[in-house]
Symmetry: C2
């Protein structure tokens, strides 16, 4: 059974004084009004971590009370930072099954009321335990992807900086026109450069902000002007160092393949997209993973203006997570709300795209380990699909190998990528240098480095010396002098920078 969208709604994203359930009720109320409904058959409710952000559980029931819909079945859905898209997908099947006529998908998160170090710690719980132990955060891992991307595609540090700045500048410019965006301020390259370094090379403007907000969609089995054409969903290993690639996400590619196949649509037919730019490098990687541009060429499309609001393939016309804000549970659904506004021609004069009959949203859960791709389309869009059609999309799937970690052992390895993390989570001293090191034999391990503070002292692709301390790997420059000193004095006292909380 085909599934359509009959109503959408969202709150202004940003800092809110309202409790989470009130924000969610506001978004729901707009969507219900648009759909001209007072009741629905069920509610699918996406919140990522209401237990720790807000201190409540049983939020699905709590919401029905707040909405004045007590009695209606209500189910909480969660797929980490792609939760909003996960809730949408789950609701989609409920309607597609023929068992439900009208379903409310409601997503939200409240985050700004907590201290940043606490929020960072809560967000870090979506990272693999063994990598979290090192103090790795989402920005730190994203920064290591950015570094590796630059190395793989031969971008100098200043070139990389320029590209990332361009993503932030473009998305802030789009957000400027979006009444729902948290940041409605254009930024310059100078603003970008002046902004705080979160995890080298990522500045504050490379990272989606901490945000309160909610978004809502009504799905229905009754035809409306907008149809859900394709949905794809895939996971990848949480253990980032076990991934075969640090410059793309398998989970995006596998999800996209499913969505294109289901929708019988090629990447080249997509007219605009909302791409999960929680970190600016992810927008570039996303546009490549989705088959819009070849690997290593997403940044060129950006430079050439292809992905700009008036370009051939606008990316994140809403401002993206970068400027609209990122209430983690809500973002995946907010992307779909933007697509609906665009397809309906209701995005406002300045933001409205000329070609907006078919749009795609890509949402990343965790560090690319639970991703969804959703395609929405004007119901009256004419197209002919030939028999035996298969999508013109053949991504390279780099299968992750979940290796059984060997016992920590000292030795020489290659520094694959690194970052210097300044915004450390609760319990870790700042700055914290982290890297992925490939050991002889091919195993990639996470390691920290207590000495270096300048990125200029570290080189990807160079040999480093790995030692172990308190069960963690520490990497050091491989110099004769160090080796000699170690041999004379025994292990140095520098250690992973865990401090007592």
């Amino acid at each position: 059974m085909d599934v359509y969208i009959s109503g959408v709604g969202m709150t202004k994203f940003g800092r809110s004084k309202e409790p989470l359930e009130k924000m969610m009720a506001e978004a729901a109320s707009s969507a219900l009004k648009e759909a001209q409904l007072e009741r629905v058959d069920a509610i699918y409710m996406g919140v990522m971590n209401v237990e720790e952000f807000v201190g409540d559980s049983n939020f699905a029931a709590l919401l029905t009370d707040t909405l004045g819909l007590t009695g209606i079945p209500s189910t909480r859905v969660e797929t980490a930072s792609s939760t909003g898209a996960g809730a949408f997908k789950t609701a989609f099947y409920a309607v597609a099954s023929g068992h439900m006529e009208h379903v409310l998908v409601l997503a939200g998160e409240k985050m700004t009321h907590l201290p940043t170090t606490k929020t960072t710690r809560i967000l870090s719980e979506i990272i693999d335990r063994s990598e979290r132990r090192y103090g790795a955060t989402m920005p730190a891992l994203a920064a290591m992807f950015a570094q590796k991307y630059a190395r793989e595609f031969k971008l100098s540090p200043s070139k990389l900086e320029d590209i990332l700045a361009q993503v932030a500048i473009k998305n802030h410019s789009n957000g400027y026109f979006n009444p729902y965006a948290q940041f409605r301020k254009k930024i310059t390259k100078e603003d970008y450069l002046k902004s705080q370094m979160v995890s080298y090379p990522l500045h504050l403007y490379d990272c989606a902000p901490i945000t309160d907000g909610s978004s809502a969609v009504i799905l229905t089995s009754h035809p409306t002007s907008i149809k859900v054409s394709g949905i794809g969903h895939a996971t990848d290993t949480m253990t980032v160092r076990h991934r075969a690639s640090f410059t793309s996400f398998n989970s995006t590619k596998e999800a996209a393949l499913k969505a294109y196949t289901m929708a019988q649509i090629n990447p080249s037919e997509i007219q605009f997209a909302e791409v999960h730019d929680a970190f600016t490098p992810f927008e570039i990687i996303g546009t490549e993973d989705l088959g819009f541009f070849p690997p290593g060429e997403g940044w060129k499309a950006l430079e050439e203006g292809v992905t700009h609001l008036r370009g051939r393939l606008p990316i994140n016309p809403s401002g993206g997570l970068n400027a609209r804000g990122h209430p983690v549970g809500a973002s995946g659904l907010a992307q779909l709300v933007e697509i609906v506004y665009q397809v309906r021609g209701e995005a406002g004069r300045q933001r409205q795209l000329e070609r907006a009959e078919i749009g795609l949203a890509q949402s990343i859960g965790g560090l690319g380990d639970n991703n969804l791709v959703t395609i929405l389309e004007r119901s009256d869009r004419k197209r002919i699909v030939k028999e035996g059609w298969t999508p013109d999309y053949h991504p390279e799937i780099n299968v992750s190998k979940r290796m059984t970690p060997s016992l920590p052992s000292e030795g020489v390895g290659i520094l694959e990528t690194f970052t210097i993390l300044y915004a450390t989570p609760e319990g870790f001293r700042s700055p914290l240098t982290l890297g992925f090191v490939k050991k002889d034999g091919g195993e990639v391990v996470m390691a920290c480095n207590p000495d270096y503070r300048s990125p200029k002292e570290l080189k990807m692709g160079k040999k480093v010396y790995l030692r172990t301390r308190e069960g963690l790997y520490v990497f050091e420059k491989l110099t004769l002098w160090k080796q000699l000193k170690r041999w004379i004095k025994g292990p140095t006292k520098s250690s992973p920078k865990k401090v007592q909380p």
Copy 2:
């Protein structure tokens, strides 16, 4: 599209040294083996509060790694303590939609590793905030239901005690035969009476234990010997004091009506049931809410042996949550696993029921605010449904009124029900007397009482004096002497027993 079950699995419930994901992998592995599958199209994963019990989020992705199923779409589903049933329902629609062929439903919780006061605090987060402030716990609210039930149906305190003991004795006797049960020990009335008072009148044996465990089911669109016939789901207000009834659950009745209607089955056709007996009074209430027995007569059926293992309508042949154990996220799915074992005739000589072609499971989320009812049936069961059939089930729905609470004000009220809570959550001194008091005008408020320690001093239906302290209601005996003392000395120092944590 019809949906069938091709495999089930579960761990032995109890105290486990394994991490949660390992336990869940064990249950999944059994189910996959039964279904002769190595992969599935998707995983729906139920955990109630992995964030606080285990300290992880993004558990849906983590599980695919542990299962060796990296890549497969994985979605976390949560409906409080009915989570396992909620995940089952969500997966059901995915298969029913025709988009998926084989789906793994996997549910679990790990709870025993934390101190009991912490577990109690985490579990209490599923209670309405305004009632949680008083220190109300799940056992405390369940105890107040039991008290009200006794009063409404004219059972003396010793009669009530005897009935509740009989539930625990029956379910422990059933659990004795269940290799997956946490408690495999028959108990006597003496054991019951000797067990610690948790919240008067509920003894320890009235409360499901704290448990680690996992259960798994494979749903498929390919016909097998067992079919999913009916699913119903409904919420109720989280604010227990706003409910129109304290002796039944609307959410069970509304869910049951949907399930019976979908399955085209009458309550009288159900041959056995797993009923959510997290607290013994809930089993009695459940059998009435489900239409097996008239209101106020569930206890008689128990006394007459109707619900015993060899009775006409066995309830909780598995031992129920009471004896099998209650890993909160897993229980709703474990009930369905038991039904599958029974329908297949694989429950073991001692536990196997004679008539086991059609079974029902009822799962309670929160304090009866997010409930599910599921009916499973032998696929070859012959039955004729007449045109225009409607279920022979006409429960009285007592619509809850979510009232806007008035400003706390002193005055006289009627004590509707009460409990004395001994196992208080973190931050509250023990014992703690709690009650629902109906004020003039009909508003029911929660109130605590700092003085009384003996249940004999409190009478339901009697007038009490309500005063306010620190924004909470305190109820006192309405005596002339007290009134006079208050008038002379001003408010007493006794106050809600919040202590600094």
